[in-house]
Symmetry: C2
Subunit: 406 residues, 2 copies
């Protein structure tokens, strides 16, 4: 069960973006597994991809196509990741683009392919191709909810977020969908996010916007530290909202766009953690008082990836010794252990590197029993800070990841 | 159940080393929980300690004492780690040394203290002190097996190793005991190893010997990546074997000593992984063809710490996609994915970065079903190599670490 994650809220359509899905039987019958996102001409596209060196074939192809062309459509399949498939996988990805391009009367290089699912097996090209016409007949500006379902792998709920914001006298929409988290999925590869806006934005400004927003959202979540081979996040801007174009990162209009894009990204990123495999807790780790943001992040991720800390949270155990031990091994240049403080929500557990005099196990337990926990770390070394979100490590995580192929 | 780890073999006594244990009721009744290891005068002592900044009080005190004095005895308790206990913990550690020193008619600075167990609670000084006389009456050169029991926390079996080796015409003994692994223990802090030899060795040569041997043994194991606050490894040399003193690291005598010390360290380190919490597999990861040893180690540890790889091994699932994904995110400067090969024992799974033509799931399964698995990675980038040992991630690991305090 996801942690505090209700069903999809209203996903406002974005003028110029149409979405169509199909049940193509790619890996399972009768589930939406193929999605086409069509972009109107003049749509600006910015994207970020996994930094895993074993990136999937569609990632390689999407990068190539994006470098040379303004995309007309995104083609997304679930079921197979098309990763670890060598040259044959690249050919498969290119072929699927070529067929969709023909149906849309555009060039193969104007299609961006995305895949998620099992690693290491070739995807069923024929089934994907035969599903494409259905996707195209379904194309609709109100197709976001179906598309959110169509990109799921072992996600338990579809994930979407949508905002309206005023830029000058104009209303701008930002709507997006996402699936997965880190590489928490068994044989699945993993985080995909597609967000669109009708804002009028120059291409380089849009790229800055996605890069900045992603640093505060998708790049701040972790479930198991396993970076996927297929991660991709795409931000589309159709330019139909009618306001004066945002051509510089200075000024109020860009600030407003960045704020709302970051908000949508963050809601999607947190949704992914809330639905992490086996998750029973949603944990925010905030590290303050560091000498640099990267020091704060190192400490936060060391805590978030510690199997001992994660199993303690699963047990609702305020096991602060494990948190201290994780801080103590974080790879940062300097750490004055006598300045460290640890908080669970507003309960001070450790002050000046040792147990706080006012702390009691009962006060700690009252926090760790909650489904949402804020872990505050004070390093006492500077003024930098950073915040990430993670989940706990439960029996269910082991079951899902151990038994998936059995 | 530990993986292929039979009971203690014969632990040869080391002339000049006497060991005494007691059931002091430190945390549980009727279990050996207090150990004194007495060293004859002239014993050389070399040691390495945890690099966790939140090191335990006994680690701080042992480091101080070792810097100034030739130790006469080691004092070890299980049950409480005396970590995260602030100034009071330091006082407790010093007091326990002072009392033992009085009983042995030496200085407090000649005692090295070691603790393992729950983090964050002060240890029961009075019970430890009242157990010391029993330890002293039990002092015996044949006390190794009892001492191996007396340092256990949640270890399921005591761990020891012993070798005889010829140095010139003389027989030299190397005998040691260890407990734990990484920081896999719930609230426990963790790896302690005490190894003694009657070899005649200069102090600086002994320090070189321990540092070199540890790099090939204890520093090559991981269970969960969680470095303990209390790790310590001590090598004692009583100098009673009668051979000409080893005063240089050149020459055959040192090479022989290093070889056998490394062998004992490795057997102990592997025993710790074999008895890792919830372990059902003993996994060797060997990375070859790297540009440097550190590159090879980064790749090996990234695989070993991946929860997805570890759960796949628990499921006996030859899930090579997860191994590739881990290699792909390893933090090394350069990686040519098209040169990478992956072997499970002698079965080639991946060649030139993609599935080997001769590989079948059945061949992979035949390996991953075994309790001992060798994962061979070929990077194809150079001539360096490295090898580490690890365990899988099972339901039992989560159960033990989540439910320990419940």
């Amino acid at each position: 069960m996801p942690v505090n994650l209700p069903g999809l809220s209203i996903l406002h359509p974005v003028s110029g973006i149409r979405l169509g899905t199909a049940c193509a039987g790619i890996r399972k019958k009768d589930r939406r597994d193929l999605v086409v996102i069509e972009c109107a001409a003049e749509t600006r596209v910015a994207a970020t991809f996994t930094r895993n060196r074993f990136c999937a074939a569609p990632v390689t192809v999407a990068r190539e196509h994006l470098a040379r062309n303004a995309p007309r459509a995104l083609l997304i399949n679930t079921g197979f990741a098309n990763a670890g498939t060598g040259l044959a996988g690249l050919e498969d990805a290119r072929s699927s683009c070529a067929v969709l391009a023909q149906l849309l009367s555009c060039q193969a290089g104007e299609i961006l392919p995305f895949s998620t699912g099992v690693i290491g097996e070739r995807f069923p090209l024929a089934r994907i191709i035969s599903g494409l016409p259905t996707c195209l007949t379904q194309l609709d500006e109100n197709g976001w909810a179906e598309a959110a379902q169509g990109i799921m792998t072992t996600d338990t709920v579809p994930k979407g977020a949508s905002r309206k914001v005023s830029i000058g006298a104009h209303t701008v929409i930002v709507t997006g969908i996402a699936k997965g988290a880190g590489m928490i999925r068994p044989d699945m590869a993993t985080l995909l996010a597609f967000v669109a806006t009708d804002a009028v934005v120059a291409a380089d400004v849009l790229q800055t916007c996605i890069s900045t927003a992603i640093q505060r959202s998708f790049n701040r979540i972790t479930v198991d530290g396993d970076t996927s081979t297929n991660d991709a996040c795409v931000l589309l801007a159709t330019g139909r909202a009618g306001h004066p174009a945002i051509e510089r990162v200075e000024g109020e209009a860009y600030a407003e766009l960045l704020r709302v894009v970051t908000e949508v990204f963050t809601e999607l990123a947190q949704a992914v953690v809330r639905d992490a495999e086996g998750a029973t807790k949603f944990i925010t780790i905030e590290v303050r008082g560091g000498r640099s943001e990267s020091d704060c992040l190192e400490v936060a991720y060391t805590i978030a990836h510690s199997p001992l800390v994660k199993t303690a949270f699963f047990a609702s155990d305020p096991n602060w010794g494990r948190i201290l031990a994780a801080i103590g091994r974080a790879p940062i240049a300097q750490l004055d252990v006598n300045s460290v403080a640890v908080y669970l929500n507003d309960v001070c557990v450790v002050r000046d590197g040792a147990l706080d005099a006012g702390y009691t196990e009962a006060r700690g337990l009252a926090v760790t029993r909650l489904p949402e926990i804020h872990v505050g770390i004070e390093l006492g070394a500077g003024s930098a800070s950073a915040q990430i979100w993670t989940s706990d490590l439960s029996h269910e995580y082991v079951r899902i990841n151990a038994e998936y192929r059995s």
